[in-house]
């Protein structure tokens, strides 16, 4: 057992877990944040994507101890109080989710995708970038629309602020 401490959604947390505990299980079980999901065993589906030090990571592929001392953000930490993150709002506005199971991972992937591309995204790029996230409900059509809309909106907000 190892004491693992990190900053989770801006709060310092700590828990004593088995050395082999994966980050996703640390988040779900030791910290009780169940928005991050496990959809496969092989790091393929992306339902478990969180941000570690600002970058999207499949939390089923990382040991909790590897995230010791890191800043970790899950889908629960994305909204600013009652105000949804633009990507969350766009997923709702464009019906980018159905059963909701892949959605947290999709949203966390999308936020990182928009950051890395500085908000400049076309449909082909979005589809290519979603390689690591599987959705069985939406056929991706509305997820792609939602990410594009959020990216465009975030660029517009940035431009307006400049």
């Amino acid at each position: 057992m190892t004491q693992v401490a990190m900053t989770l959604n801006g709060k310092k947390v700590s828990a004593n877990v088995e050395d082999r505990t994966l980050l996703v299980h640390y988040i779900r079980e030791a910290q009780g944040l169940t928005g991050t999901h496990v959809g496969c065993d092989t790091s393929q589906c992306g339902a478990c994507v969180v941000h570690v030090n600002g970058r999207a990571v499949k939390s089923c592929t990382m040991l909790a101890v590897q995230a010791a001392g890191a800043e970790v953000m899950t889908v629960e930490g994305l909204a600013n109080g009652p105000e949804l993150h633009p990507v969350q709002a766009a997923f709702r506005e464009h019906h980018g989710l159905q059963c909701g199971f892949c959605t947290p991972g999709m949203i966390m992937t999308a936020v990182d995708m928009i950051r890395r591309h500085n908000g400049v995204l076309d449909e082909d790029t979005i589809r290519h970038e979603l390689e690591g996230n599987i959705c069985r409900c939406t056929g991706y059509h509305n997820i792609v629309k939602a990410i594009k809309a959020a990216a465009d909106q975030m660029v517009a907000m940035r431009t307006a602020a400049e």
Binding site: A79, R92, L97, I126, L130, H141
Partner: protein, 786 residues
């Protein structure tokens, strides 16, 4: 949100919890003193279990128990059943082999559960499961549909000689044979419908909690139909009587059919929770899901279509062998029979049809309903042979279909179904226009100039939803009635709760159903709550599958709303001293026609509960329930058009454009309906291009993870162009037909028709992988080079 009625693209009420990570799925539930279950599964596809040694596992840290089939049988837990009786053509009942939740004698598919370990943590349970030593004596294995019926094939069940479950017929054999004998032309096609794994993103899970003091069980589970689960667990598996068993299906992460069925793991979790006296949670990992979730499709078919000299169809003969896997899952028997062969008339006026279906056992995972369930298989047969026949007859595929469309309704097909309404020309016209069918030769020539092969494929599908009139399905062998129930509770403050037996696992019922109420009473959708998925809250319900929640589930709500409205009008008339017939509901108010007298809906609701001044003899309260039993199936139909471009150097297919023109009848929320179509299309395109549950000869599922099974990803599919046409369904009060499965039903033949058109080779199996397309296109390339 305001009033958002029928036809409004209302944003979903349920979304906020999902986008903020606050959904509550079964695996998110935690109970005090909870244990975890891990199953010991056979690595062999067919073997005798000669010994199970749990001693090492029992010594492992945290282990509470190791349980096997011996204890299960001793405790009187019943065998799993198939709930739809099919009789063979000779009148004999289907041959159902025994299926135990834990098998301690003979295992019949790789992954079948032999024992279960219950431990304090999931990791401890899994570690200990690895230490349970099971001795097997391997038996010969049969995997393929064809091999199962061959003489000398390994036998799975003593109850089913020759591995034959049933040999079933539908239609008029003599008339069909006569039509084929006198045909001007016969088109013959051999068709394999590839085996698929449903793969909802949330793996199955169960959390069972036994209360010894009350002798009562609670089961949280990933179910599309919690009441059916409770019924089966009570009546057949002897877990507990219904009033001592509460089944809760909370947020469920997709189902696509695979979460209809009651599986061994839920039964074992319930039983084990009593055995160990603690709650037991089991969560499937993805490979377990591949090995144990009921698979879909897996048909082998020979079809022959007879046409006369004018290109009119005169007869259709179909012979299918359906692989049901190692055991008969809950509704497996109905899928290749009444959900398949009854749709073989397609959109066409065919005077004579005969189909023979043989269902067989093999050493593979059980097969049952997967999105479309029988109708995708039928549509693939019909629409592939229509396209093929058109090519053979030298007719345009669109024109050949048009020549044979049914245009008069109601239309009785030769295979039971009576189509109530439709306009197949309209959807075909819409699709052809959207894809610019006439301009295709120009685009094909342009692609050819770049060395690419373009193809165009159509699929004019029809399917049957709204399953179904209870008496009708009862006469065909169903063990249950397929009505739906609803209860509408108006609270004293005028907010409304709707309890429904339908279950939402992605379909957006919380929004669509609320729109229905919003429209009816003019109340804000935020004032309406949809309650579902809990047998303690909703009295009974048949659940969600077969695109039935609109046509059947919402019809039950309409019936209950009618009763609430009638009572509310009586109260309003009494309070305003008006005639009941003069009361109109408009904008959330009950008004006396032709006067300025009115009461708000809230005032009437409050009056119902204060009961200070009700009409003589009226009971207080405003709450009504209803059961709705459909009068017929509904028949969604449409045309899908697919244009592909094949790279002959690599065999890679790119879908250039995909157009869907669907007639779903009345649509409540177009946004949600479009989402259903997008998802269905992607699953159908997945079947056509990517997905295949491949077994090796030893019965090992080679595609048992996302590393090996090609799930459609975002860059495998295009954005879609959707259109709707509308003929109202006369069979239910809202005129709804259903939209959940059409995409998966109609799209595979459109894709394969397009690719075979591009490569000018009709011999192409699904999935049309790059390798297969490359090989199949060699002929046309060789010709082009000459």
């Amino acid at each position: 949100m305001g009033v958002e009625g029928i036809g409004a693209r209302a944003l979903r009420k349920e979304d906020k919890r999902f986008i903020t990570g606050k959904g509550k799925y079964t695996d998110d539930m935690v109970l005090p003193r909870m244990t975890y279950a891990a199953f010991v599964r056979t690595p062999h596809a067919h073997a005798k279990v000669t010994n199970i040694d749990a001693s090492a596992a029992l010594d492992m840290p945290g282990v509470e128990a190791v349980l096997t089939g011996h204890e299960l049988v001793a405790d009187g837990i019943g065998n799993l059943i198939c709930g739809w009786m099919i009789h063979s053509k000779d009148g004999s009942p289907m041959n159902m082999g025994a299926w135990r939740a834990l098998e301690s004698e003979t295992v019949r598919f790789a992954g079948q559960a032999v024992a279960v370990v219950i431990a304090d943590t999931q990791a401890q349970a899994r570690d200990a499961a690895d230490q349970v030593v099971v001795d097997y004596e391997e038996l010969p294995v049969v995997v393929s549909t064809t091999d199962a019926l061959a003489g000398g094939a390994p036998q799975l069940h003593p109850e089913a000689p020759g591995n034959l479950i049933y040999d079933w017929d539908i239609g008029d054999e003599a008339a069909t044979n006569a039509a084929l004998s006198s045909a001007a032309h016969i088109t013959r096609l051999e068709i394999d419908n590839n085996r698929l794994v449903p793969n909802p993103m949330e793996p199955r899970a169960a959390l069972a909690d036994y209360d010894a003091a009350e002798e009562h069980y609670t089961l949280y589970t990933t179910s599309q139909n919690p009441h059916v689960a409770r019924l089966v667990l009570s009546a057949f598996y002897n877990v507990a009587p219904e009033h001592k068993l509460r089944v809760i299906a909370p947020d469920v992460g997709g189902g696509f059919g695979s979460k209809i069925f009651i599986y061994p793991e839920e039964i074992v979790a319930l039983w084990a929770s009593k055995r160990v006296g603690r709650p037991v949670k089991w969560v499937s990992d993805r490979t377990e899901a591949f090995l144990t979730d009921a698979h879909g499709r897996d048909h082998k078919t020979v079809a022959e279509l007879a046409t006369d000299a004018n290109g009119k169809i005169t007869g259709f003969r179909v012979q299918t062998v359906a692989n049901l896997g190692a055991y008969m899952s809950l509704f497996s028997s109905s899928v290749p029979t009444y959900l398949y062969a009854t749709l073989l008339s397609g959109q066409y006026d065919i005077p004579a049809i005969h189909a023979n279906v043989k269902a067989v056992y093999t050493n593979t995972t059980p097969v049952d309903a997967y999105r479309g369930a029988g109708r995708p298989e039928a549509t693939f047969v019909v629409e592939r042979i229509m396209e093929t026949a058109a090519r053979e007859l030298g007719l345009s595929p669109a024109e050949f279909r048009r020549r044979n469309f049914i245009r008069s309704f109601p239309h009785q097909t030769p295979v039971i179904m009576c189509y109530d309404a439709g306009d197949y020309d309209s959807s075909l016209d819409a699709a052809l226009k959207a894809i610019d069918y006439d301009g295709f030769p120009v685009r094909k020539a342009e692609a050819a100039s770049r060395g690419k092969l373009r193809g165009m494929g159509l699929s004019c599908y029809i399917e049957a939803c709204g399953i179904a009139p209870s008496a009708a399905v009862g006469s065909l062998g169903a063990g249950v009635g397929l009505w739906e129930s609803a209860e509408v509770r108006v609270n004293p403050v005028g907010t409304i709760e709707v309890l429904t037996g339908s279950h939402s696992h992605g379909q957006g019922h919380e929004t669509t159903f609320a729109q229905l109420v919003s429209e009816r009473f003019g109340v804000d959708t935020n004032a309406v709550a949809i309650v579902h998925g809990d047998t303690d809250k909703v009295q009974f319900g048949m659940g969600t599958y077969g695109s039935r929640s609109g046509a059947v589930g919402m019809s039950a709500i309409v019936k209950a709303l009618d009763k609430v409205e009638a009572k509310a009008k009586k109260i309003a008339a009494h309070l305003m001293e008006a005639s009941e017939a003069d009361i109109q509901i408009e904008g959330g108010e009950l008004k006396v026609a032709g006067t300025d007298k009115k009461l708000t809906f809230t005032e009437v609701a409050l009056a119902a509960y204060t009961a200070h001044n009700l009409p003589e003899g009226m009971e207080p309260g405003l709450k009504e329930g209803a059961f709705y039993d459909p009068t017929n199936f509904t028949f969604p139909a449409g045309t899908y058009a697919c244009e592909v471009e094949v790279d002959p150097d690599t065999g890679k297919t790119r879908i250039v454009k995909f157009v869907a023109a669907d007639d779903f009848g009345k649509i409540i929320n177009p946004m949600i309906v479009e989402g259903q179509v997008h998802g269905g299309l992607t699953q159908g395109i997945g079947q056509a291009l990517l997905e295949n549950a491949v077994y090796d000869e030893a019965g090992q599922l080679l595609a048992a993870s996302y590393m090996d099974y090609a799930m459609p990803r975002a860059d495998d599919v295009p954005s879609y162009e959707l259109y709707t046409t509308e003929t109202a369904c006369p069979g239910n009060p809202l005129g709804m037909k259903g939209c959940g499965e059409a995409g998966a039903i109609g799209s595979p033949p459109a894709v394969i028709n397009a690719i075979t058109d591009a490569i000018q080779n009709n011999n192409l199996a699904m999935p049309a992988t790059a390798e297969r397309v490359w090989r199949a296109s060699r002929g046309v390339m060789a010709q082009a080079a000459e």
